[in-house]
Symmetry: C2
Amino acid sequence: MGASARRGPYFCGIDAAMDVVAGKWKSLILWELHQHGTRRFAELRRGLPGVSEKMLIQHLREMEEDGLVHREVYHQVPPKVEYSLTEDGVSLNAALAPLGEWGTERMRRIGAGRVLVDGAAATGR
Amino acid sequence: MGASARRGPYFCGIDAAMDVVAGKWKSLILWELHQHGTRRFAELRRGLPGVSEKMLIQHLREMEEDGLVHREVYHQVPPKVEYSLTEDGVSLNAALAPLGEWGTERMRRIGAGRVLVDGAAATGR
DNA sequence: TGGGGTACGCACCTGCGGGTAAGTACCAGT
DNA sequence: ACTGGTACTTACCCGCAGGTGCGTACCCCA
């Protein structure tokens, strides 16, 4: 409850897309899954510094409902769940790419330092 | 007050851009200004059915701070103010275009009827 | 035998994003 | 004289997005 209640009639394509990526971590999750292909829950949590477990799950569930991510459960113990992008998720990410470039360019202009925790930086945008 | 406090350090370009377009009406304002080139306050209000005056102004002010829109005041009475996109606003809109197409495609798939008030529809996405 | 990891579920709470409504200073039209 | 339009401002209120924290069932490793 409280999760969806969305899919309301939209004004145009942009807010239909915005509705789906709305949420503090949605776009980051997209990006993370896009870069690594497949990630387990705990890997995602570590990849998104600052995210709470509650929000991670909530967002992942919503994105699954929206057909953006695929959830593969391995019935074993300890539990193992793998998340990956669906076709729609991949295309959404592609559609987000120019926006990401615009944002990177903007960060350069206003000098908003990016926060990086991984040593895996330097791969660019 | 309560307006900005943003520009926090970003993880990547995407959420730097998302920070700027965050807000219920921001993307719609971008789109409206892009389509009409220059619009007065009341024209925007009529173009965004459902927006409150308070939010319209607040968003316009923030977007002006962020260097997305230009605000031209004509010191006359009755007051006249014209809003238009800056170069950054135009490029942001261009960066949003693929996202808009993705959203339109998605609306087609899930059959979320779009809400149109203008007769000026049919121009597509 | 106890600490840590995996993938969550649930209850509680706070902040703020956004809505509502009223007020302002001035003028044009009827 | 009254209504309506222009471009706001200010005060108040409310819902929900998101954070914190605890609990769970099971296993591995020291």
